[in-house]
């Protein structure tokens, strides 16, 4: 089996307020980075996983995300496989 590295990004759904992102945006403005319009902060997981092929890996990580890693009520996630 091959070893893959999967990157999973989890953000709060659009429309759900992200207080942390807002506070960091305000801080960036205070530091002079006024060009910043919005900041959203999420989690990112780097998962090393064994498997035969890319499709299998993606579907596994998708399953983990759905049942455990992300909360479907509040969060959206994106999966990316690093080569």
């Amino acid at each position: 089996m091959k070893k893959w590295t999967v990157i999973l990004e989890i953000f709060l759904k659009e429309g759900i307020f992200d207080p942390q992102g807002k506070t960091v945006k305000d801080a960036l403005h205070n530091l002079g980075f006024k060009e910043v319009e919005e900041v959203r902060i999420g989690k990112v997981l780097k998962i090393d996983i064994l498997g035969e092929n890319k499709e299998e890996i993606i579907s596994k990580v998708k399953k983990m995300s759905e049942i455990f890693l992300a909360n479907p009520v509040t969060e959206d996630f994106v999966i990316r496989v690093e080569e």
Binding site: P19, Q20, T23, V24, A27, N30, L31
Partner: protein
């Protein structure tokens, strides 16, 4: 000595620290984060809490508060600065002390009484304690795992900058059980435990008294 207690938005141990200082006879002043004036204090205390909610990283945002410019200058000129818990985290972020804080090894907030050993008392803040003395104080933090690169750790040791270590159990996974450090000159100190919560018998410990008493001189 005149003591100032800094209030950042989200600081929550300012009143406790103020109370402890009053208890031993100080008449402290509060310093507001937006101010540029240190009100002629001799000692600046950055108390514990959750400045800016600890959002992003503990201390990362407070470090850029207007008053921090003054505090950095003050410290560089030899002024006494003490950071407790979140205050310690802010001093690390501001570069007044070396190293950084990581999330606790337990991956959770920890509130408990811990024991500390005084490793070096060569700083104003600890001069009334004896080297080897064992202290009892509460900790209450989520990011208290002290970390520093190998090279800098050697430097820290060479200069006797490690002043307090956890004794017995290391609660948060800090490198070398480090609980408190000073800068090279010894005028800036940071510690994770809360001395201001250990100044009255009824609350379980008086180990912190000497720290505040020293500042009376």
């Amino acid at each position: 000595m005149r003591v100032g207690v800094v209030v950042f938005p989200g600081t929550n141990c300012d009143m406790d620290t103020y109370h402890a200082l009053r208890l031993v006879g100080h008449d402290p002043v509060y310093l507001w984060h937006k101010e540029h004036d240190l009100k002629n204090v001799d000692v600046v205390i950055l108390p514990g809490g959750f400045s800016y909610g600890d959002y992003l990283r503990a201390g990362a945002i407070a470090r850029f508060s207007p008053i921090m410019n003054e505090i950095i200058d003050f410290a560089k000129k030899g002024g006494y600065v003490l950071g407790i818990c979140n205050g310690f985290q802010i001093l690390l972020e501001a570069g007044l002390l070396p190293g950084a804080m990581l999330p606790n090894i337990t991956n959770s907030f920890i509130c408990k009484e811990v024991f500390l050993e005084v490793i070096n008392n060569n700083t104003l803040f600890l001069k009334n304690y004896k080297v080897g003395e064992i202290l009892k104080m509460p900790i209450a933090h989520k990011e208290g795992r002290y970390y520093i690169s190998k090279r800098e750790l050697e430097e820290l040791k060479e200069n006797n900058q490690i002043v307090l270590k956890y004794y017995g159990e290391n609660p948060n996974g800090s490198l070398e059980n480090i609980a408190g450090i000073i800068n090279k000159k010894g005028n800036v100190m940071g510690l994770m435990p809360h001395p201001e919560r250990a100044v009255e018998e009824i609350l379980g410990s008086t180990s912190g008294l000497n720290l505040f008493l020293t500042l009376l001189e």
